[in-house]
């Protein structure tokens, strides 16, 4: 009974491999940087044959495993949750693990470079410290006063819904590194930090909203936002980032007057 099943299965696999999948030739144009080898960044082309339904991360893996082991990039979960592999693909910030080859015009070379505004350490790896410094500065943890309750801190479904959108952030830095104000001098808190402040400012269980609003009221805070919507467009989680920033602005205005 079991033997025929296995045969059927492998027959189906063979069929898929033979005719179901159309492999195409793709050129990856990767902006490589290795300060020990070449003082300037260089664009390097890699030719690959792969299924257009595969992801850009699969293509990068193929390059690293089969063509050039020196190619360096971050990836961890490979399923759009860990936020490691944000990069600039064809000029737009995306997660390599959520971007299919067929969606980024594989007829032309696909350009891949590190996200902008942060120091490139090697190839596609940037120094994320300033990004996480801004994140830490907004105190992204529950702040409460008084004694701890003996049971859970309860919350109504409506109160939870209020900040639901900003809980989706995976800290990939796609938004912050797409923000032209952040590109300038990197002193602006950036969309990601504000999104994570929003997540607590509008949480009914949290009591630190005033402190966070005070931090974001400063010269490098929410008022530097120019509503260019680059962040909302870049977010791989579909968070309405600009809207969240505007809500923080509105909270500041209504609380101060």
């Amino acid at each position: 009974m079991s033997t025929p099943t296995v045969e059927q299965h492998s027959a189906a696999l063979d069929a898929a491999e033979a005719g179901g999948v159309q492999l195409i030739t793709v050129t990856l144009r990767i902006r490589r940087f290795n300060p020990e080898e070449h003082p300037e960044p260089v664009w390097v082309d890699y030719q690959l044959t792969l299924d257009p339904k595969e992801r850009v991360l699969d293509a990068l893996n193929k390059v690293k495993w089969e063509q050039d082991g020196t190619l360096t990039y971050r990836r961890s979960c490979a399923h759009g949750i860990c936020g490691s592999d944000a990069m600039r693909i064809n000029g737009r910030n995306r997660l390599a693990c959520k971007t299919l080859i067929k969606d980024v015009n594989p007829e032309k070379p696909i350009t891949i470079e590190a996200i902008k505004g942060l120091t490139v350490l090697k190839d596609l790896i940037v120094d994320m410290d300033p990004f996480f410094q801004a994140y830490k500065d907004v105190m992204p943890f529950l702040i409460t006063n008084g004694n701890d309750p003996t049971r859970e801190r309860l919350q109504s479904a409506e109160d939870r819904e209020r900040f639901d959108d900003t809980t989706k952030c995976i800290l990939c830095a796609a938004c912050t590194s797409s923000c032209p104000v952040f590109w300038n001098d990197g002193q602006y808190f950036g969309p990601a930090a504000i999104v994570n402040a929003h997540r607590f400012i509008f949480d009914s269980r949290d009591e630190g909203a005033e402190q966070r609003l005070e931090i974001l009221n400063d010269r490098e805070g929410v008022w530097r936002c120019r509503t260019t919507f680059n962040c909302s467009e870049a977010c791989p989680r579909g968070i309405e980032v600009t809207k969240a920033i505007q809500e923080v602005k509105r909270a500041l205005v209504t609380r101060r007057f």
Partner: protein, 165 residues
């Protein structure tokens, strides 16, 4: 480990990212192409201000913008469209309008709001685009001086205007 990748026609693209060229100062020749790490705390990092200045500036832009739409469109309508348009504008026409405190007030408000609105917008642009603190300071000083000069001169003219000169 041999590096077997080839540079495509030795296409060397200089960094598209903003950098000051000063590098990190570690002696590495590649430093000039490295973006300096942002958000590092130095003695030069401005302290927290604890004021509402940025919020008030932001609010001012929104509110003055709404008022300016009315003031400027009204101004353009009177000066360019109604009653024969530009052909009627002359010393006598201006003198006639400024005889009324209403039009004096209109022009004064338009002058102040437009100049402050424009200056605040330019301040934002300078803050965003100037790379060095000293450049930023001098550009803002220059702009502030020009703004103060224009506003004061305009105000002086509106209040001391003599139709009989």
């Amino acid at each position: 480990m041999p590096t077997d990748y080839t540079y495509t026609d030795s296409v060397v693209v200089p960094s598209a990212q903003a950098h000051t060229g000063q590098g990190l100062g570690t002696g590495n020749p590649a430093d000039a192409f490295v973006v300096e790490p942002p958000r590092t705390r130095t003695k030069k990092t401005p302290r927290r201000t604890r004021t509402n200045f940025e919020m008030l500036a932001w609010l001012f832009m929104r509110l003055s913008g709404v008022v300016l739409v009315v003031l400027i469109l009204g101004h353009l309508l009177i000066m360019l469209v109604l009653d024969g348009g530009v052909s009627k504008i002359g010393f006598a026409f201006v003198a006639g309008r400024w005889a009324s405190p209403f039009w004096q007030g209109w022009d004064l408000l338009m002058l102040w709001l437009a100049m402050l609105h424009g200056a605040n917008g330019m301040r934002t642009v300078i803050n965003d685009y100037a790379e060095k603190d000293s450049t930023r300071f001098w550009l803002k000083t220059l702009m502030g001086a020009a703004t103060v000069f224009t506003v004061l001169l305009g105000t002086l003219v509106i209040f001391t205007f003599d139709p009989n000169i």
